[in-house]
């Protein structure tokens, strides 16, 4: 009965308060890693290219000549005001980078989730429904391989298969579309729709197909496995047994009673995949030259731009923590059993 004793508001407040230390630990980790670790950002980037005076000036501008604890509190204060600093290589605000490149990552991941759900849920239900049949074995094998196959390799294979047909395999849109669509929301797909140009919208959508399928295949493996196991569990549950005993047709039992309850945990699963999706997005963007945040991060890493890496990694950390919070809150509202 202890599970039911906690009230929903109390749980929500507790859960939200827990976010603060979580983010603090992550931010401290990021700071320690990127600031205290060997090497100085300015020298790492401009070593040999700038004279000592110019290096000292840059260091001063970045506040790197201040004591470490001053830098640390400055960093925390900036992040609290949602300011993630500036890049060193092209002197952009990280917020601008997130605004300009975040849209591409957003549409990629949303598209991938839609594809994964469309594929994963029906296949998972089928596999669970016809346990140990040939479809089940094939679907489970697909689940194993989708986990074992590197996402960038899957992307490469799709490019090789698709490129003879002339279907777009690189970038988010053709050069013409990118040039003509006016920027409103910084999300190219939305901007193309707003512009009212059917050709531009179709072009952007076409470019989305391969990257979304690639990232979606990775996620679908997870969905298949979990939906299948959940269905097996619900099919053996008492209330399903009771429905059978009442003489309800097996088809109805499965559709009405088992499927629905098997799908509830999918909400949790979606939330738990945020970290996996971010990792997958970095690799997918690299494979398809997708102008998203992951691609940008790798670019800045290759330029050894410490402040940019720190800013973007900080942003990712905040996203992960906030996403897990949202999932827990949604779960608590949906499922009254989850309160502690």
């Amino acid at each position: 009965m202890s599970a039911g004793s906690g009230s929903l508001p109390r749980y929500l407040v507790q859960r939200i308060l827990l976010v603060i230390p979580m983010i603090w630990v992550l931010l401290t980790l990021v700071f320690l890693l990127l600031r205290v670790a060997p090497g100085d950002p300015v020298t790492a980037m401009f070593g040999g290219k700038l004279d000592a005076h110019a290096v000292a000036l840059r260091r001063h501008q970045l506040g790197l000549d201040q004591p470490l604890y001053v830098q640390y509190f400055h960093y925390l204060g900036e992040v609290a005001r949602l300011r993630f600093g500036h890049t060193l290589s092209d002197n952009r605000s990280i917020v601008d980078v997130i605004r300009d490149n975040g849209g591409a990552t957003l549409t990629l991941t949303v598209g991938a989730f839609i594809f994964a759900l469309l594929i994963g849920i029906p296949l998972g239900l089928l596999a669970g429904r016809r346990r140990d049949s040939l479809p089940d074995v094939v679907i489970r094998l697909f689940g194993v391989v989708s986990y074992a196959a590197p996402i960038f390799w899957v992307g490469l294979m799709l490019v090789i298969l698709v490129s003879p047909t002339g279907w777009p395999t690189f970038g988010i849109a053709s050069a013409e579309t990118q040039f003509t669509v006016p920027t409103h929301t910084h999300i190219l797909l939305v901007d193309a729709i707003i512009s009212g140009s059917g050709a531009a919208t179709l072009d952007v959508l076409k470019h989305h197909v391969l990257p979304c399928v690639t990232l979606g295949l990775l996620l679908s493996g997870v969905f298949i496995r979990l939906v299948r196991v959940n269905l097996l569990q619900t099919l053996g549950a008492d209330y399903v047994e009771a429905a059978r005993a009442r003489g309800i047709k097996e088809r109805h039992v499965v559709r009405r009673h088992a499927f629905r309850n098997a799908l509830v945990p999918v909400v949790t699963i979606i939330g738990l995949q945020v970290a996996l999706t971010l990792s997958g997005a970095v690799l997918t963007e690299r494979t398809f030259n997708w102008p998203g945040l992951g691609n940008q991060l790798v670019n800045y890493i290759n330029q050894r731009d410490y402040p940019a890496v720190q800013g973007l990694v900080t942003f990712f950390a905040v996203v992960v923590v906030v996403a897990s919070l949202v999932v827990d809150v949604v779960n608590a509202i949906i499922d009254p059993r989850i309160r502690y």
């Binding site: 979580m22 060997p38 790492a44 346990r131 391989v145 590197p150 390799w153 990792s279």
Partner: protein
């Protein structure tokens, strides 16, 4: 010695045995590649000519080069075989390091308890919640400077990801072992904390490590390849690495050159699948919860499909 090594296989039946054997065979092939690379591989991993003649550039698979050559004139089969050595080396180092760091931390944390334990759990959970690839990216970014882009830098970047997993498992088993009767008995005869931890608890909590080890090894292969693909892994001059080869294949893919991408990727898929199967198979043999299932099945007269369902589900 050999008989003891094989005992887990003999203890299995049916599907679990099949999984374990298939996994061991797959993993074994790559281990043989790794150990005997200089004798098996037709050429060196960065060899672009033989007998005074240059290899052809991006040649499709043929009698001379079974899996073709890439844009740097290298023989792809040789790079895959040498690559196995790189992967095995990195994975062994990273798994060893994460066990050596994570397991004692978990042991102490679970045994001591109190605020130290809480802080450690919170810290490890924070690391665990972070996208593992990003963590590896940040670490290889940092380590490439001081350590160079070699095997050690790559292995240490992976180590960080897996420490929390060993910490968690060992800590949780330690917490329950701490209250066990044999620990109480040890305390009663006046054993000190250090002695109890190393002599009594350690042996009992270390049993779950091999399973996580193999599953981590599978994950480590994927992550190492991902780092290589992003250009953050092992530098191409140091050793052959499958992920790096795939990043080079990126430019060829749209031109219809498939062999530079297909084969290194297949190597990754096969090795990762092999290690995953070994992990799953070991899990079924070592994990007491799953072992019990087998006993139930043996007792039941001709277990119908329904009982099997239930058993699998509870597992």
């Amino acid at each position: 010695m050999f008989g003891r090594l094989l005992s887990p296989i003999r203890g299995t039946t049916g599907f679990a045995r099949w999984i374990l054997v298939a996994g061991l065979v797959l993993t074994g092939v790559f281990l043989v590649f790794a150990i005997f690379a200089p004798w098996i591989a037709p050429y060196d991993f960065n060899q672009y000519q033989a007998h005074g003649a240059r290899f052809p550039k991006m040649a499709p698979p043929s009698g001379n080069h079974w899996l073709g050559t890439n844009d740097q004139f290298f023989d792809i089969l040789s790079r895959i075989i040498w690559g196995a050595r790189t992967e095995v080396k990195v994975v062994l180092i990273s798994v060893a390091f994460s066990v050596v760091i994570g397991a004692p931390l978990g042991l102490v944390s679970g045994f001591v308890g109190g605020w130290w334990d809480r802080v450690m759990v919170f810290l490890m959970d924070a690391i665990y919640a972070f996208p593992s690839l990003l963590l590896a990216i940040v670490f290889s970014f940092l380590l490439q400077g001081p350590l160079g882009g070699g095997t050690l830098a790559a292995a240490l970047s992976l180590t960080v990801i897996y420490i929390p997993q060993y910490f968690r498992v060992v800590r949780n088993t330690t917490v329950s072992a701490r209250e066990a009767t044999y620990v109480e008995a040890a305390r009663a005869i006046g054993a000190r904390n250090g002695t109890i931890m190393t002599r009594y608890v350690f042996g009992n909590v270390i049993g779950s490590v091999p399973v996580i080890g193999t599953l981590n090894a599978a994950d480590a292969i994927s992550t190492l390849a991902a780092l290589g693909f992003l250009g953050l892994g092992i530098q191409p001059t140091v050793a052959s690495e499958w992920g790096y080869d795939l990043s080079r294949a990126l430019d060829d893919a749209a031109a219809g050159i498939w062999w530079t991408a297909l084969f290194p990727g297949l190597a990754i898929v096969l090795l990762v699948t092999g290690l995953t199967l070994v992990g799953e198979g070991l899990n079924e043999t070592i994990n007491p919860a799953l072992r019990k299932r087998k006993l139930i099945r043996a007792v039941l007269p001709a277990g119908g499909p329904l009982t099997e369902d239930e058993q699998e589900v509870t597992a």
